[in-house]
Amino acid sequence: MMIALPILFPLFMAVLLLMNRSHNYQKVVGIAGSLFTFGIALALFVTVQRCGIQVLQAGGWEAPYGITLVVDKLSALMLLISGFIGVAVAVYAASFVPSALISGRFYLFFHSLMMGVNGAFITGDVFNLYVWFEVMLMSSFVLITLGSKRIQLKGGIKYLSMNLLASLFFLAGIGLLYGKTGTLNMAHLADILRNDSHPLLMNTSAMLFFVGFGIKAAVFPFFFWLPSSYYTPPVAITAFFAALLTKVGVYAMIRFFTLFFVQDPIFWHNLLLAIAGLTMLIGGMAAASQYEIRQILSFHIISQIGYMIFGLGVFTPLAIAGAVYFMIHNMLAKTNTFLIAGLIHRMRGTYQLKSMGGLYKSYPLLAVLFLIPAFALAGVPPLPGFFGKLFLIKAGFEAGRFLVSGVAVVTGILTLFSMIKIWNEAFFKQSPTEIHEECQHEKLRFAELLPSIMLASGTLALGLGAGYLYDFFIEMGEQLLDSTQYINLVLNK
C-alpha cells in the first residue's frame, strides 16, 4: 500500500485542487501537498533502507501478469530527492508564479507532474512506464505553455513535438519488445533476456528505447529542443523541469541498460560512452558562448547529462554509483541556480548578463547562495560536484576509458569557466547605471529565499557527507548491476 502512495497522494491532491479555484486555497493545498509527498517519500526511503527492496503486485495479480510496482534503493532515492525539490519549487512558486497562473491551476499540473515522475520511478512494468511518461509529459506541456505568451508557444511547440516523437519511439520499442519476448514486466524481461542468445534481435528495440529516452534526457544528437524551450516559461517551472524531466529519462536509461538490455555490452557501452563524451563537450562549449543566464544553465543541463551517461557507459559499481550521485547533486544544484536566476530577475528585471552587476555589493546573502550551487556544478571541493566527477573519472580510468575521462575533465573546466562568467557579470562587476529605479530597492523576503536556502543546505550536506554516503551509493551500484535479487523478489522465486 505504501508503495502506491507516492502515486495516489498527488492524484488525491489533484482532486482537491480541482474543487476550488481561489488563489489562497490553491497555494495552501499545493504547498501542503508537496510537503506530504515528501514525507511519504521519506518514509518509503527509510523502509527500503531497513527492509530491502519493496514490491507491490497491484490487484494481487502475480508478477508477469499484473502491474508490478517496485521500489529499490535507486527508486527510493529518486523519490526522496524529487519530493524535496517539489517542496522547494512549490514554496518558491507561491511568490514567483504570477497569481493569474496560480488560479489557472498551476499547482494542479504541478502535482500531476509529480505523480507522473513518481510513477515512472516506482513502476516495474515497461508499458506502465510509458503511461507515467505520458502523464508527466501532458502536465509538462500544460506547464510550459501556461499563460500562453508568444515566446512560450514557440518553445512549447518545439518541446511538444520532440517529446511526442520520443514517446512514439518508446511505444514502438515496446511493441517490438512484446513481440519478441511476450512480456513487459521488467523483472520477467530481465529473466528472459539474460539467457538470450540473439543479442542483435534485441538491439532493434533497445535502440528505439535509447532514442526515446535520449530525446527526453537531451543527449547529444537530440538535445536541441531543450535550450530553445526551457527558458520560456516562468522560472519556477523551468527550475522544476530542469530538476526532474531530463533526469527521468536518465533514470529510465539506467534502469533499462542495467536490468535487461545487457546482452551486447561492447556495442552499447561504446555507444553510450561516445554519446556521453559528445554530450558533455558540446553542452559545455555551447554554455560558455551564451550570455543569457537561463540559456547558460539550459546548456549546462545537457553537458551534465553527459556525465550521467558516462557513468552508465563505464558500467562498474563505482561508475553507476557516481552517475547516480552526480544526478542527485545535479538535481539539487541545477534547480537552485534556476531559482536564483529568478531572484536576480526580480531585482534587476533582466536575465541578460551584460546588463546586470553589483549584486554582491547589494545582496551578499544572495551571492553566497549562488556560490554554493554554482561551485558545486563547477566541481570545486568539498562540494558534491567535485566528488561526483571524482567517482566518475576514477571509475573511467580504472576501466581504461581514458579518452572519455579526459573529455570529462575538460568539460569540468568549461563548466567552471561559465559559472565564473555568471559570477563575474552578475555579482562582481560594477553595476551598469541604467538599472530601473523600481527594480533597485526591492528587498527579498525570507519566504522567497527559503527554497534556495533549503536546496543549498541539501547540496552542502551531500558534499560534506560524501564520505558517509559513499557506502550507500556503492551498495546501490552493486544492487543495480546484480539484478538477481530484484528479479527473484518480483517473480517470487
Binding site: A14, V15, L56, A58, G59, G60
Partner: protein
C-alpha cells in the same frame, strides 16, 4: 441559431444515448464496454444538446461543472483501490459484494465497477470541458 431538426432529434436521442451509456458502463467488466466508452456516449448526449440548444442550456442541464465531474471521477477511482486493501490486504484487488434481489436474482457489485464509474465520470468531464471551452471560444451560439 435554431436548427429545428437538431432540436427535435435531440429530444429522442438524448435518452437513448444516456441509457446506452449506462448500459455500456454496467456490462463493461466481462464484455466489451466500460467506463471510457460509456463516458464518451454520455458526453455525446450533452454535446448534442450544446449543438442543438446552445452551450448554456447544455451546461444548465449538466448542473455540475465539468471540472468537478473530473474531480469526483478521480476521487471514485482512488476510492476503488482501498476496499481490496482493507478486505484482503492487497492493494487494488477486486472486491465483490453480492446483494440478493427479488426472484432469486443477485446483484454483483465490485470495485471494478466503482473504478469504471470513476472513469465514466472523468471521461465525461474531460470531453465536455474540452468541447464547451472550444464552443465558447468560437462563439458557437
Amino acid at each position: 441559431m435554431n436548427y429545428t431538426i437538431l432540436v427535435i432529434a435531440f429530444r429522442y436521442i438524448r435518452f437513448i444515448l444516456v441509457f446506452f451509456s449506462i448500459l455500456t458502463l454496467f456490462r463493461g467488466h466481462n464484455l466489451p464496454g466500460g467506463g471510457f466508452i460509456g463516458g464518451l456516449m454520455a458526453s455525446g448526449a450533452f454535446i448534442f444538446q450544446a449543438l442543438a440548444l446552445g452551450v448554456q442550456s447544455s451546461k444548465n442541464s449538466l448542473r455540475i461543472k465539468p471540472s468537478k465531474l473530473i474531480a469526483s471521477g478521480l476521487f471514485l477511482a482512488i476510492l476503488s483501490t482501498l476496499p481490496g486493501f482493507f478486505a484482503k490486504g492487497v492493494f487494488f484487488a477486486g472486491t465483490w459484494v453480492k446483494i440478493p434481489l427479488l426472484f432469486g436474482a443477485t446483484l454483483k457489485l465490485g470495485t471494478p465497477l466503482l473504478f469504471d464509474t470513476g472513469v465514466y465520470l472523468s471521461v465525461t468531464g474531460v470531453v465536455l470541458l474540452l468541447i464547451f471551452t472550444l464552443m465558447e471560444e468560437w462563439k458557437w451560439n
